[in-house]
C-alpha cells in the first residue's frame, strides 16, 4: 500500500488559506484564559496536595481492619477475603482465639499494596465487616518492604475518621438498620457513619 497522500485533495477556502480560522481559535483560548485569570477560585486546577478532590464514600482506597469495642480485630481469619482476591495480595495466618465463641483471629494479616488492584472484592467477601476501605489514595513507598501493610497499620485508629471511610458494605436502609442488626457491638463503621451524617454529608456527592 503506497502512502496515498492525495486520495482526497482538501479544498481550502480563501480564509483557510490565509490561516484566518486561527484567529477564531485565538479568541477561544483567550476567553478560557481570561476566565481562568479572573475567576481563580473557580478555575479547574486543583492545588494538590493542599486541595483534594472530594471523592464519594464508595472510594476504594487503603484498607482498614475494623475492631470490636474492646479494641481487638473483628477479623476471624476465615480466609474469604484472601480467596476472593484476584491479585492474591492478602496473607493471613490464623491463631486460636481465647474466646471459644470467636474461635480464630489473625496472627498475621498483611496486604501487599503494590499487588493490590483495589477492586473491593475483599470487602464484598467479608462476612464480618472486618475489612473495609478508606478513601486514602496517596500511598507512596521508598521500598517494596514498606508496601506491605501489616495488621497494625491496617487497623490504625485514625483511619476510623468518618470523612476518611471509603468502600464498605451498604444497605438499602442504610442508617439505623445497621445498629439494630448487630446489637451489643459498638459498630465503629456505623458510628463513623452517624457522626458523618451530622457533619459533612452535604458536600459529599
Amino acid at each position: 500500500m503506497s502512502h496515498p497522500k492525495a486520495t482526497r485533495p482538501y479544498k481550502y477556502s480563501l480564509a483557510e488559506r490565509l490561516y484566518l480560522p486561527l484567529l477564531a481559535g485565538l479568541w477561544i483560548t483567550l476567553k478560557h484564559f481570561l476566565r481562568n485569570v479572573f475567576r481563580r477560585g473557580r478555575s479547574y486546577t486543583i492545588q494538590y496536595p493542599e486541595e483534594r478532590r472530594n471523592y464519594s464514600h464508595r472510594f476504594r482506597g487503603h484498607h482498614i481492619l475494623t475492631a470490636r469495642p474492646d479494641g481487638s480485630l473483628r477479623c476471624v481469619a476465615c480466609f474469604l477475603c484472601a480467596t476472593a482476591c484476584p491479585a492474591e495480595c492478602i496473607t493471613i495466618e490464623a491463631g486460636e482465639h481465647p474466646d471459644v465463641n470467636i474461635e480464630k483471629y489473625p496472627v498475621v494479616y498483611d496486604i501487599d499494596m503494590l499487588r493490590c488492584v483495589f477492586c473491593g472484592y475483599c470487602v464484598d467477601a467479608c462476612p464480618e465487616e472486618a475489612i473495609i476501605m478508606s478513601n486514602n489514595y496517596d500511598m507512596a513507598y521508598f521500598s517494596r518492604d514498606q508496601s506491605i501493610a501489616t495488621k497494625e497499620e491496617l487497623s490504625k485508629p485514625y483511619t476510623y475518621d468518618a470523612s476518611k471511610l471509603g468502600y464498605r458494605p451498604r444497605y438499602p436502609e442504610e442508617e439505623a438498620q445497621r445498629a439494630a442488626i448487630r446489637e451489643g457491638v459498638v459498630d465503629l463503621v456505623g458510628e463513623a457513619r452517624k457522626r458523618h451524617h451530622g457533619g459533612s454529608e452535604a458536600k459529599a456527592s
Binding site: M1, H3, P4, R8, A24, G166, R178
Partner: protein
C-alpha cells in the same frame, strides 16, 4: 449450503446448537474454503474478526484453531474450527486471504505453538525471544518466569521489500522509535528505515505490556476476571466490564435486570466519550495542538467523577458484575448525568471551532495514513477507524444489545479514511453518545434491583449474609467455588470505543473459564501500522498512530 457440497463430506462439518453457525473444517480444505468464503459474493465473509487457538489435551487432535468470520454486508457471523494434532501442529496460513490473519497467526503460534505454513514472519509476538514453551497450553505452568537477556533481544532490520534501489543521493538510516517514547502512546516500538525523512520500511514490535490476561483468566474464577478486564482498554474500562459480563451472562442464560441494563448503556456511552476524548486529545497533541488536550480532559475528569461516585474507582471501575452491577446507582446519578450532558457539548464546540478548519491541523491530517474501506476490512478493522473509511459497521446498530435498539441515533460515517476523518468521526460519535444518554435519561431510571436475584450468581445482600443461615451458605459457596457456569462456548461482542470488542469464552463446567479469548479491536488495526506509514514522513507516522487509538493494555493483554 451449496458451497459445502464441493468438499468431501468429512472435511467440512456444520455443528448445530451453538451461539453462531460453526463449521468444523479439516485443515487440508481450510485454505480453499477460506479463499472461497472471502471472495464468494454470495457468502462474502470479508472480515476476519479473530483467530485463536484452544488446547484440549484429552482429544485425539489436541489443538483447535478457531476463526471468527464476519460479513460486513450481510452482518452474519461464522465460526470455523480446525482441529490440529499435537505431533504435527501445522495448518495453512490465511494471511494471503485476510491480511488480518498475519498477526493473529503469530499470536496463535506464540501462545499454542501452532505453525502456519506459508506465513512469512512466524515469530513470537506477545512474549519475548527468550521465552520457552507456549503459555496458553494447558500443561504450561502459569507461574513460570523467563528472563530476557541482552544477547537474545531481537533486532529488527527493516529493509524496503519492493526491490527499488535506494537512491544514493540521500542518506539511508534506520531509527528506533519507542518503546518508551512520548509519541508511542503506550509501549510500542517501531523501527523505521528512512530515506531522508520518508519511511521506506518499518517493523512494529509489541508485547512490552503483555501480561497474559488469558492465562490469568484460566486460573481465576469467573467473577475474579472482572477487575482484569478493566485493564484491557483502560481508557474505557467500563465497556470491557460490560463485554465480559455479557459473555458470561449468555453462557449462563441469564439477563441483567432493566435497571442494570439502563445504567450499563449510559455508562458505556460516557466511557466511549472519555475514550474518544483521550484519543483525539492525544492525536492533536502529537500534531502540536496542546490546548485541545485540556479542553478534552476537563469533561473526561468529570466523567471519571461520575464513574467514581458509582463504583468507587476512577480508572479501573470494576462496576459490572455477572448479572448486573456491583452496587446500586448513587441517589444523585441522574442529576450527575444531566450536569455532564450540559457541560460536555460546550467543550466539544470549542474544540471543533479551534481545530476543524485550522489549516495547520488540516495540513497535518488530511490524506495522511489513508486507507480505503475494502483494504481496512481486509485488515480486520472495526469501529470508528473503519467508519472513517466509509464502512458503516457498528455492533450497536448491527447486533443491538442493551438498549441501543430502543433509542434514536446515527452511525457517523465519513469517506476519507485518513487521520482527519478519524478525528471527525470520533467528534461526531461523541455527539451521538450524548444523544443516546439524553434519551435514556428522559425515559427515567427503571425501578427494581441492580443485580439479579439468584444466589448462585450474585452475592446475597450483606445484611442477609450476616443474619440468615441460607444466605450465609450461598455467600461462602459463591466466594469459595465461584459461579458455576455450564459447559459451552460463546462469542459475545460489544462495540468498544475502538471497535468490536469480542469475548470468546469456553466453559467446561468448572468454576473457572476453560479458555477466554479477547478479540481486541486495536490488534488488527496495529498490525496495519507498518503498511500505513510506508511512504509517509516520520511526523505523519506519529500523527497516524494517535488517530488509530491503539491501547497497549488491550493490544497485548
Amino acid at each position: 449450503m451449496p458451497l459445502l457440497e464441493k468438499y468431501p463430506p468429512d472435511s467440512v462439518v456444520p455443528v448445530a446448537g451453538l451461539d453462531q453457525p460453526t463449521w468444523i473444517v479439516h485443515r487440508d480444505s481450510l485454505k480453499e474454503l477460506a479463499a472461497e468464503l472471502q471472495a464468494d459474493s454470495a457468502s462474502g465473509f470479508d472480515l476476519l474478526l479473530d483467530l485463536c487457538g484452544a488446547d484440549f489435551p484429552g482429544r485425539p487432535d489436541r489443538f483447535e484453531a478457531i476463526y471468527h468470520l464476519y460479513s460486513v454486508e450481510r452482518k452474519e457471523r461464522l465460526r470455523l474450527k480446525v482441529p490440529v494434532p499435537e505431533d504435527d501442529p501445522v495448518l495453512p496460513s490465511l494471511a494471503g486471504i485476510w491480511k488480518a490473519a498475519n498477526w493473529f497467526e503469530r499470536e496463535a503460534f506464540d501462545m499454542f505453538g501452532l505453525r502456519f505454513e506459508g506465513h512469512k514472519n512466524l515469530r513470537r509476538i506477545l512474549t519475548h525471544e527468550a521465552f520457552e514453551g507456549h503459555p496458553l497450553r494447558k500443561d504450561y505452568d502459569a507461574a513460570r518466569r523467563w528472563i530476557l537477556t541482552e544477547d537474545k533481544v531481537y533486532r529488527p532490520q527493516p529493509r524496503p521489500d519492493d526491490g527499488e534501489s535506494d537512491d544514493d543521493m540521500f542518506e539511508q538510516m534506520t531509527i528506533n522509535i519507542g518503546p518508551s517514547h512520548p509519541a508511542m502512546h503506550g509501549t510500542f516500538r517501531v523501527v523505521a528505515h528512512l530515506d531522508g525523512e520518508v519511511i521506506t520500511a518499518s517493523e512494529v514490535e509489541i508485547g512490552y505490556l503483555h501480561r497474559c490476561f488469558e492465562k490469568m483468566a484460566e486460573t481465576h474464577t469467573w467473577q475474579q476476571v472482572i477487575p482484569y478486564t478493566d485493564r484491557l482498554n483502560y481508557c474505557s474500562s467500563f465497556i470491557n466490564n460490560v463485554g465480559y459480563c455479557r459473555a458470561v451472562e449468555s453462557l449462563l442464560g441469564v439477563e441483567a435486570p432493566p435497571k442494570a441494563v439502563w445504567a450499563r448503556t449510559i455508562l458505556s456511552e460516557f466511557s466511549r466519550i472519555m475514550d474518544h476524548c483521550v484519543c483525539n486529545g492525544s492525536t492533536l497533541v502529537d500534531a502540536g495542538a496542546l490546548t485541545n488536550f485540556w479542553y478534552f480532559f476537563q469533561p473526561r475528569e468529570e466523567i471519571y467523577g461520575l464513574l467514581e461516585a458509582c463504583s468507587g474507582a476512577r480508572l479501573t471501575v470494576s462496576y459490572c458484575r455477572i448479572g448486573g452491577l456491583a452496587e446500586d446507582l448513587p441517589p444523585d446519578f441522574e442529576a450527575h448525568c444531566r450536569r455532564l450532558l450540559e457541560m460536555i457539548p460546550g467543550f466539544m464546540d470549542d474544540i471543533e471551532r479551534l481545530v476543524n478548519k485550522n489549516r495547520i491541523w488540516l495540513d497535518r491530517s488530511v490524506g495522511v495514513a489513508a486507507i480505503s474501506g475494502e483494504e481496512a476490512v481486509n485488515w480486520g478493522w472495526t469501529g470508528p477507524c473503519l467508519r472513517a473509511s466509509g464502512v458503516a459497521n457498528d455492533v450497536r446498530r448491527d447486533h443491538p444489545y442493551d438498549l441501543y435498539d430502543t433509542v434514536d441515533w446515527n452511525v457517523p460515517v465519513l469517506p476519507g479514511g485518513d487521520v482527519y476523518d478519524r478525528y471527525r468521526v470520533r467528534m461526531l460519535e461523541i455527539r451521538e453518545s450524548l444523544k443516546i444518554i439524553r434519551q435514556l435519561l428522559d425515559r427515567g431510571m427503571p425501578e427494581g434491583p441492580h443485580i439479579i436475584d439468584d444466589p448462585h450468581i450474585a452475592l446475597p445482600p450483606k445484611e442477609d449474609a450476616y443474619n440468615q443461615m441460607e444466605a450465609m451458605i450461598y455467600h461462602f459457596k459463591l466466594i469459595m467455588d465461584g459461579i458455576q457456569v455450564p459447559a459451552g462456548e460463546v462469542y459475545s461482542m460489544v462495540e468498544g470505543a475502538n471497535g468490536e470488542l469480542g469475548f470468546y469464552a469456553i466453559s467446561d463446567g468448572s468454576g473457572k473459564p476453560y479458555r477466554l479469548k479477547v478479540r481486541p479491536p486495536c490488534f488488527p488495526i496495529m498490525s496495519t501500522f507498518s503498511d500505513l506509514i510506508r511512504g509517509g514522513t516520520v511526523s505523519d507516522a506519529v500523527v497516524s498512530l494517535g488517530g488509530l487509538n491503539v491501547i497497549a493494555g488491550e493490544l497485548e493483554r
